[in-house]
Each structure stands twice: as structure tokens, then as C-alpha cells.
């Protein structure tokens, strides 16, 4: 089986339709079995679609019709003006107006064509930049997770949260922060950041683990909300246990009762 790095190099050609037959088969086989590469392919397709859709400068299909209507109206106005004040009217020859209109249409068309061509030419570079930005954020996040400063660790969480398709090591780092950081501020920021990736099995498992070990009420509230929101029924036993525990604050019990009603 091809590895993800190889597929990543071929995915742009695959989407662009420039990959050869054997290459297409390899990529498609890999995409069937690899969830993260499938996600990457979808994101690239979305990116390409967004870039193709970004054609605000494209002249409307009705432009010619509208121009003709405006021209006719202008001609009628000119005639009307000439009827009322014949001595002050400047008569513009019709063929001259058509020439101006032709130049205008040509200019708009050229601009659009140039813009479209440039986009096509720079598309691979833009994709490269997106990938590079993602890699830089990954490196920055991983290095900041180790920082002594809690603020910097929260910054690492923010970087990680911005990644569209985070590597496993990023998710593992976020999970470790959520489970182990000494300050609730970092644990809570990590729990919130992981919510974007809550479809991953390891993230769901980590939320359940965190609910079992977490003692800070702010964090408990956050975890209960997230687990109920992602409909994680494996959390029900621990939630019931917390509900019975005399040490659980009343406002958390209220939260547990309301969320358990939704979960069960």
C-alpha cells in the first residue's frame, strides 16, 4: 500500500485530472482505506472549488442584453431631448456608441481571462503555500506544547486548532494537554480545540478518560457538554456516577441531569 506522503504528492494531479491510469488506481485504492487522505482529498477539492468560484469579476451573462436595453433607452432619451430642445442636443452617431461598447466588453473580457489564467497558473503554488503553512503551524504547535509558559502552551493549542488536517502527533499532543496539563486553562483550551476532531475515535476515548479523571468543575462542565453534544453514550456510566457522588457540586449535578436526559 502506498504511504500517505506519496499520495499527498499525487493528490493535486489526481484531482486536476492529469494523473495517468495506474496512478489514478493507486490513489483511489489508498483513498478507500485511508481516512485522513480521504479527508485531505475532500479539502483540496473544496479549495479548488472555492478558487474556481472566486470569479467576482466575471461579467454577467445578461450584460450584453442589459447593455442593449440601456442603449435603446439612451437612444430614446436622445430623441426625446432632441424633440424638446433641438438646438442644444449633441447627436452621437450610433455606430460610435457601438464601438465604445465593443471596447468596454473587450476590456472586461480581457481582465477576466487574464485573471482566470493567472489563477490556473498559480494554483499549484497556492496549494504548496497552503501545505507549507500547515507544516509550519504543526512544527510551531509541537514545539510550543513543551513550553514552560502556560500562555505559550495555549498558543500551541490555538495553532493546532487552526490545522485543517492535523497529524496524529498533533492530536496526541492536544489529548496529553487535556489530560495532564497542570493548569485548567490549558486543559480546557485543549478540550475545546479537540472538539473539531471529535469524529476521531482517539479523541472520543480521550474525552471519556478526561471525564473519569478530571476534578476541576469548569473542566467537568465542558466535558459533560462536549460528550453529550457528540452523543457519546459510553460516558453515561461515569456521568451517573458523578451524579450520585456527594462531592459533585450542585451546578454540575444540574448539568449532568439535563444532559443525561438527552443522552439516554
Amino acid at each position: 500500500m502506498s504511504n500517505c506522503k506519496e499520495i499527498e504528492l499525487q493528490i493535486v494531479d489526481y484531482i486536476d485530472g492529469t494523473l495517468n491510469g495506474a496512478g489514478i488506481e493507486v490513489v483511489e485504492q489508498h483513498l478507500i482505506s485511508c481516512e485522513s487522505c480521504k479527508k485531505m482529498e475532500i479539502e483540496y477539492r473544496l479549495l479548488f472549488t472555492a478558487m474556481n468560484d472566486d470569479q467576482a469579476e466575471l461579467p454577467s451573462e445578461n450584460l450584453d442584453d442589459a447593455f442593449e436595453v440601456a442603449l435603446m433607452q439612451e437612444t430614446r432619451n436622445l430623441r426625446a431631448t432632441r424633440t424638446t430642445k433641438p438646438t442644444k442636443t449633441v447627436q452621437i452617431p450610433l455606430h460610435y456608441i457601438y464601438k465604445v461598447a465593443a471596447v468596454f466588453v473587450l476590456m472586461v473580457g480581457s481582465y477576466w481571462f487574464g485573471n482566470y489564467t493567472t489563477q490556473r497558473e498559480f494554483m499549484p503554488e497556492l496549494v504548496d503555500l497552503t501545505v507549507q503553512k500547515q507544516e509550519l503551524k504543526t512544527i510551531a504547535a509541537l514545539s510550543l506544547f513543551e513550553n514552560e509558559s502556560a500562555s505559550k502552551r495555549i498558543q500551541a493549542v490555538e495553532f493546532a486548532q487552526e490545522l485543517e488536517n492535523p497529524a496524529d502527533e498533533i492530536l496526541i499532543a492536544l489529548i496529553n494537554e487535556m489530560l495532564q496539563d497542570k493548569l485548567v486553562n490549558v486543559r480546557l483550551a485543549s478540550a475545546r480545540a479537540l472538539e473539531r476532531f471529535s469524529e476521531y475515535g482517539m479523541v472520543k476515548d480521550a474525552y471519556i478518560q478526561a471525564l473519569k479523571t478530571e476534578e476541576n468543575p469548569s473542566m467537568q462542565i465542558e466535558l459533560i457538554e462536549i460528550l453529550a453534544f457528540i452523543n457519546e453514550k459510553r460516558a453515561i456510566p461515569k456521568m451517573k456516577e458523578l451524579l450520585k457522588d456527594d462531592a459533585t457540586p450542585i451546578f454540575i449535578k444540574d448539568k449532568l441531569e439535563s444532559e443525561l436526559q438527552n443522552l439516554i
Partner: protein, 252 residues
């Protein structure tokens, strides 16, 4: 020879009283961060000198009859039931004073990074520091005056009061109170991206907090109605306030 005897007596009195009322100083040259752990309340102020100062005027010294003896349940190398230890660029100040003792008052240069933790239900007061401040307590109040940020605060039972002089744009801020209220004063021209969660309380403010149109955090908006993310003066450094059971008071 009566005058000589008086002079000798005076010398001994002055020496003894000086010996029992000596300030403690430790240089902060090469020190980047100071960690303070205490069971008593902690008050940290700034001074001009490049040193840690524990003043005998403001702090209770150990009793005379402990001279030459070693404490079993705590450590002390300052004469104030406080143990000071340098580890590379970090200075650790650990107080072994009983919880009910008077507050520990210390002075440090304003540019030092601070990490302060009260082990028991006591207060933390910090004023005038221009660098990063981390503070954590279980039941006391935390008060920070003239902060520049970043400020990271964990407070389980007490209230938190922070007055920002300005807001460093390089690193995020976060204040999480489980039970108490959060009182924040912030300059009106501050650029910040502010997130507030008050699941059981209210947000009171005189700032114009407007949620941006393209919310990037759809998950939280869908599950939490008492949450707002707002760009103050066009947005800037991240500032998170979470009062799980209390209110947030955010004012200019």
C-alpha cells in the same frame, strides 16, 4: 570605665536586634521566571533593585529560640520560613508558613515572569509587573493590578480581579473561575479577540461586544448559548474568560 561598658552593651543590643531583623535578598541577575508557592496569602510588589527582597519590616521572622535548629516539616534558608532555590533561570520561592500566618510580602523587578500558587484558601495580590503572570488558588481571591499580559489565572472558589494597563499582543490570556466572579478592567483602545463563557451566570459590560459574522467555532455556538466571541477594536490577541458558576464584569 562605665562609658566603655555602656558602649559594649549598646553594641551587643544593636548586633542582636540587627541579626534578628535582617532582610533577605537574592539577586535576580540571570533569572527569567520566579515561582512562588505558599500556604499563606501572597503579596508581590515591584521595586527598582535587581533582586528578590523579603523585608523584615513587612514579614514575620522565625522565633529566636529556633536558632541552630532545623525545621522538620518545612524548609527555611531565609529566616522567614521561606525556602529560596535557584534552578538555572528560574527562582523558586516556597513558603512553609502556616495558612493562618500573616501574608508573605515580597519584592521583585517588574520585568520578571511570575508563576504564583496558593496551596490553601488564601489570596494572591500582584501589582505592577510587565511580563507574564500565572496565578492559581483554590479558595482565595486573586487581584492583579496594572497587568500587561499575558495573564493566566485558575481560581476555583474565589473571585478574580484584573486591571490591564495594556495587552501584550504576542501571547494569549485565559482566566478560568469555577465558582467565583471575574472582574476585568481593560483599556478602551485594546485590540483583542475576547471569548466569554458564563454558563450559569451573566456577562456585564460597557464594551460593545459584537460576534463576528463568520463564526469559526460552530461547535461551541451550537451547544452553548451563554458564550460570545467578539473582536474588540478589530480583534487581536486571544483573551478567554470563563466563569462556570459566576458572572463576568468587563469594563473599560
Amino acid at each position: 570605665m562605665m562609658p566603655n561598658k555602656i558602649l559594649t552593651l549598646l553594641f551587643f543590643v544593636v548586633s542582636i536586634s540587627y541579626g534578628f531583623s535582617q532582610d533577605y535578598r537574592h539577586t535576580t541577575e540571570g533569572i527569567d521566571k520566579v515561582e512562588v508557592i505558599a500556604s499563606v496569602s501572597v503579596i508581590i510588589k515591584t521595586h527598582e533593585a535587581p533582586s528578590l527582597l523579603i523585608s523584615s519590616k513587612e514579614n514575620k521572622q522565625i522565633e529566636r529560640n529556633t536558632s541552630g535548629l532545623t525545621p522538620i516539616f518545612g524548609k527555611d534558608n531565609t529566616g522567614f520560613k521561606v525556602f529560596v532555590e535557584q534552578n538555572n533561570s528560574t527562582l523558586k520561592i516556597e513558603s512553609f508558613q502556616p495558612r493562618t500566618d500573616a501574608p508573605l510580602i515580597i519584592y521583585l523587578p517588574e520585568t520578571i515572569k511570575l508563576a504564583v500558587e496558593s496551596r490553601e484558601q488564601n489570596n494572591i495580590k500582584i501589582s505592577g509587573f510587565t511580563n507574564e503572570i500565572e496565578a492559581k488558588t483554590n479558595q482565595g481571591d486573586i487581584t492583579i493590578q496594572n497587568a500587561n499580559g499575558p495573564v493566566i489565572i485558575e481560581n476555583e472558589q474565589g473571585n478574580t480581579y484584573v486591571k490591564f494597563k495594556e495587552l501584550n499582543q504576542n501571547s494569549p490570556n485565559s482566566i478560568v473561575n469555577s465558582h467565583g466572579d471575574i472582574y476585568i478592567t481593560i483599556p478602551s483602545n485594546t485590540k483583542a479577540t475576547i471569548e466569554v463563557s458564563v454558563p450559569r451566570g451573566e456577562l456585564y459590560t460597557d464594551l460593545e461586544l459584537i460576534a463576528p459574522e463568520n463564526q469559526d467555532n460552530k461547535y461551541r455556538y451550537r451547544r452553548d448559548s451563554r458564550y460570545i466571541k467578539s473582536l474588540l477594536n478589530g480583534g487581536g490577541v486571544s483573551v478567554v474568560f470563563i466563569a462556570s458558576r459566576g458572572n463576568v464584569y468587563l469594563r473599560i
